[in-house]
């Protein structure tokens, strides 16, 4: 299941981090950070061909020994990165991408909120709930 979900904004800092054993968060930070390069690389490799309305889903970025890292980029260069437990290899890219799409939708709902200044790291509860549901569901 998804162990960690991270939303990275355009400026390449994490806007939202959620991870399920929470204590590993730092580790996930480093992993995700390193995977950002991969995201960019894949995106540039994919070119402009696959820009659909739902954003680019490069899919599997990198398999580490414990986790697989999946990435997703929105139109506004917001990246979603998720770490999935390697034990669950039954995931396919489509599932991951659909998960990302849901994430994207709720993220747009969050951004409609004018109150938090962009850059404030708040945790909108609806978003939280949705993320939690995603993380537990993607098992």
């Amino acid at each position: 299941m998804a162990v960690c979900i991270m939303v990275i904004v355009k400026e390449n800092y994490p806007f939202y981090v959620r991870s399920i054993p929470v204590e590993n968060e730092l580790k996930f930070h480093s992993v995700v950070h390193t995977s950002l390069d991969l995201v960019d690389e894949k995106i540039s490799a994919m070119g402009k061909a696959l820009v659909d309305q739902r954003g680019l889903c490069p899919g599997l970025l990198y398999p580490t020994e414990d986790y697989k890292v999946y990435g997703y980029v929105t139109n506004s260069k917001v990246k979603f990165v998720t770490l999935v437990d390697s034990s669950n290899t039954a995931h396919r890219d489509n599932e991951i991408c659909s998960m990302f799409w849901k994430l994207h939708n709720s993220y747009t709902d969050v951004t409609c909120n004018p109150f938090p200044n962009p850059g404030d790291r708040i945790r909108p509860r609806v978003f939280d709930n949705m993320v939690t549901s995603l993380m537990t569901q993607v098992c």
């Binding site: 747009t108 709902d109 969050v110 951004t111 409609c112 909120n113 004018p114 109150f115 938090p116 200044n117 404030d120 708040i122 909108p124 509860r125 609806v126």
Partner: protein, 646 residues
């Protein structure tokens, strides 16, 4: 019918003991007296007449029953048994039977006719806090305090009043049935049992259908929306009971019972919200954009996370903009939060946009709305109105202030009582400055009306709703505000601080950072004593002297000359020094009182001088700027001209 009812009830009056008789008739009087609009202890005869012929309105009756803290089903049974359901109203007989049944149940006996045949203690009625809350608006108006204790005391007062009433009624036979009164329609009564289970919604409704106590008629017309009636006296405890109760009943017809009454937007509140919406966005059917809403709601001084949470809740379609129902919901949540209500986890059903849209009637988009809710301002909020009307820099600090003043207002009670009662001038005054404030202050800060919202949010709890946020005027540090320039009255008050007492060194004032005025003031100061003798002409002289003097720094000379030139014109010959010398000895010779008067006049003149000086300086600056612009334009013209010639 009466006999049948009596027979059907079985026990009825004959079994009432003395104390019971007394208590019941008192209670009946309360309920009926309220129904007939008992105007208070001052008119026992009318109330007697009225209540004698009247029935107890189902409103207070139901309240009373509920106050007995019996379960709803029991109350239903009781009402059925006592025959009120059958006859459709609570006549004295039915009422007494019901009371006996209540006593029986409270003693642990089953709800049956036979129960009341035995000796029973008096039924116990706990005047719940809700009842007190509902009446809060009335004592609040009177006492102007926020404590809940007044409710209880007023309740006791009402009891005392009913004592007076019931003494008069004891002469009547309790079996007397209100033949004269046509039964209230059964459907009306049907709602009564419904409302039994409808515990807290009493004070929160959407439509005010105040109450049957209209008039001294023997008719109980709970359905009649007697909005004119409520206007009479503020101290209508029973009336408020009935009122709110009938309102509940109305509401019940509209919707299922919602337990979350704090989330219900009352009519008054809604009108207020709608007006605010209008001030932000003239078209009621379109949205408020996110940034606009953000500015607006940020003034409520809630923390950003809370605001974002409220937004999350209220923006149902997540489009980044608020439609009118969304806006109302958001506003309501903010108000609730300011009053200490914890934010709900999810949007309460009463705040959902569909519900809000469906429930609310088409708003009347005119300032009448202002009147309607501002009318409901109790007198003790006049002060806040003044605050609102002031344009001083008070912002959301006002939020907590009125909250302290009025709490637990029952908005319903207030609105209905004050709808007609409050003079119209009050609403219009706040309405207009509010409008103007809103329009003018649109870029600055917004004025929230304190009144209705405060009451609206009361459930006997804490602080009321946001007060009007008065217009935040520009600080002095800001750039030249032409409004200020042309409102010498305003700077007059401010510069009132400036003028020092008469003999001052030429560096007096902490004025508006105008060296000009500083330069002017000393000259004026010097001039002022000399012209003290003729205060009014002096005042005119000095202002006149200023405009003609162009270069600011050289004001001394022209003013000297002009003052000196004007002094002969004012029939004070001689140089200024001479003139100053002469009045002074004469002043000293006169009583000190005159001296003080002169000094005050001097001060006033100085203030006026300062004002005008500042005005002048500002105008001159503008003139300079305009000159410069003109020069620049002329240069441009020069540059362009040879080109065109070619």
């Amino acid at each position: 019918m009466e006999a049948a009812a009596g027979g059907g009830c079985g026990s009825g009056p004959p079994l009432l003991s003395e104390s019971e008789q007394q208590c019941y008739s008192e209670l009946f009087a309360r309920c009926a007296g309220a129904a007939s609009g008992g105007p208070g202890p001052g008119h026992p005869e009318t109330s007697r007449v009225a209540s004698g012929a009247a029935t107890a309105a189902a409103g207070p009756v139901a309240d009373l029953f509920r106050a007995s803290q019996l379960p709803a089903e029991t109350l239903h049974q009781i009402t059925e048994l006592c025959g009120a359901k059958r006859v459709g109203y609570f006549g004295p007989t039915q009422f007494y039977v019901a009371l006996k049944l209540i006593a029986a149940v409270q003693s642990g006996l089953p709800v049956r006719i036979e129960s009341i045949k035995c000796e029973l203690p008096l039924p116990r009625f706990m005047m719940s806090k809700n009842d007190g809350e509902m009446r809060f608006g009335n004592p609040a108006e009177l006492h102007g305090s926020k404590v809940q204790i007044p409710y209880l005391t007023t309740e006791k007062n009402s009891f005392k009043r009913t004592d007076d009433e019931e003494k008069q009624q004891e002469t009547q036979s309790p079996t007397m049935s209100p033949f004269a009164s046509p039964p209230s329609s059964p459907p009306h009564y049907q709602r009564v049992p419904l409302s039994h289970g409808y515990s807290k919604l009493r004070s929160s409704t959407e439509q005010m259908h105040p109450v049957p106590y209209e008039g001294r008629q023997p008719l109980v017309q709970p359905e009649g929306p007697s909005s004119g009636g409520p206007g009479t006296k503020p101290l209508r405890h029973q009336a408020s009971l009935i009122r709110s109760f009938s309102v509940e009943r109305e509401l019940q017809d509209n919707s299922s019972s919602y337990p979350d009454e704090p989330w219900r937007i009352t009519e008054e509140q809604r009108e207020y919200y709608v007006n605010q919406f209008r001030s932000l966005q003239p078209d009621p059917s379109s949205f408020i954009s996110g940034s606009v809403a953000k500015n607006f709601f940020t003034k409520s001084k809630l923390s950003i996370p809370e605001l974002s949470y409220i937004w999350e809740l209220s923006d149902a379609d997540c489009d980044g903009a608020l439609t009118l129902p969304e806006f109302c919901a958001a506003f309501h949540l903010i108000v609730a939060r300011k009053n200490g209500y914890p934010l709900p986890e999810g949007l309460p059903p009463t705040l959902q946009p569909e519900y809000l849209q469906a429930a609310f009637p088409k708003p009347k988009w005119d300032c009448a709305l202002f009147d309607s809710y501002s009318e409901s301002m109790p007198t003790n909020q006049q002060a806040r109105d003044l605050n609102r009307m002031e344009t001083s820099v008070k912002d959301m600090a006002d939020f907590p202030v009125p909250t302290q003043d009025v709490t637990g207002d029952d908005k319903q009670a207030l609105k209905s009582t004050l709808n007609e009662a409050v003079p119209k001038d009050v609403p219009e005054d706040p309405a207009t400055p509010k409008d103007s404030n809103n329009l003018k202050a649109r870029p600055r800060s917004r004025s929230y009306s304190s009144t209705s919202i405060e009451e609206a949010m009361k459930r006997g709890e804490d602080p009321p709703t946001p007060p009007p946020r008065p217009q935040k005027s520009h600080s002095r540090a800001s750039s030249l505000d032409l409004n200020k320039v042309f409102q010498p009255s305003v700077p007059a008050t401010k510069s009132g601080l400036l003028p020092p007492p008469p003999a001052l060194p030429p560096r007096p004032c902490p004025s508006q950072s105008e060296q000009v005025s500083e330069a002017e003031l000393p000259s004026q100061l010097n001039r002022a004593p000399s012209q003290a003798a003729e205060s009014s002409p002096a005042k005119k002289d000095v202002p006149h002297s200023q405009p003609p003097s162009k270069p600011i720094r050289r004001k001394f000379r022209p003013e000297n000359q002009s003052a000196e030139s004007q002094e002969p014109s004012t029939t004070i010959s001689g140089p200024a020094s001479g003139a100053s010398v002469k009045p002074h000895p004469t002043v000293q010779k006169q009583s000190s009182k005159q001296k003080k008067a002169i000094q005050t006049a001097i001060r006033k003149n100085k203030e006026a001088n300062a004002v005008l000086a500042r005005l002048n300086s500002e105008l001159q600056q503008q003139l300079k700027e305009v000159h410069q612009e003109r020069i620049a334009l002329e240069n441009q013209l020069e540059q362009l001209r040879p080109v065109t010639v070619l």
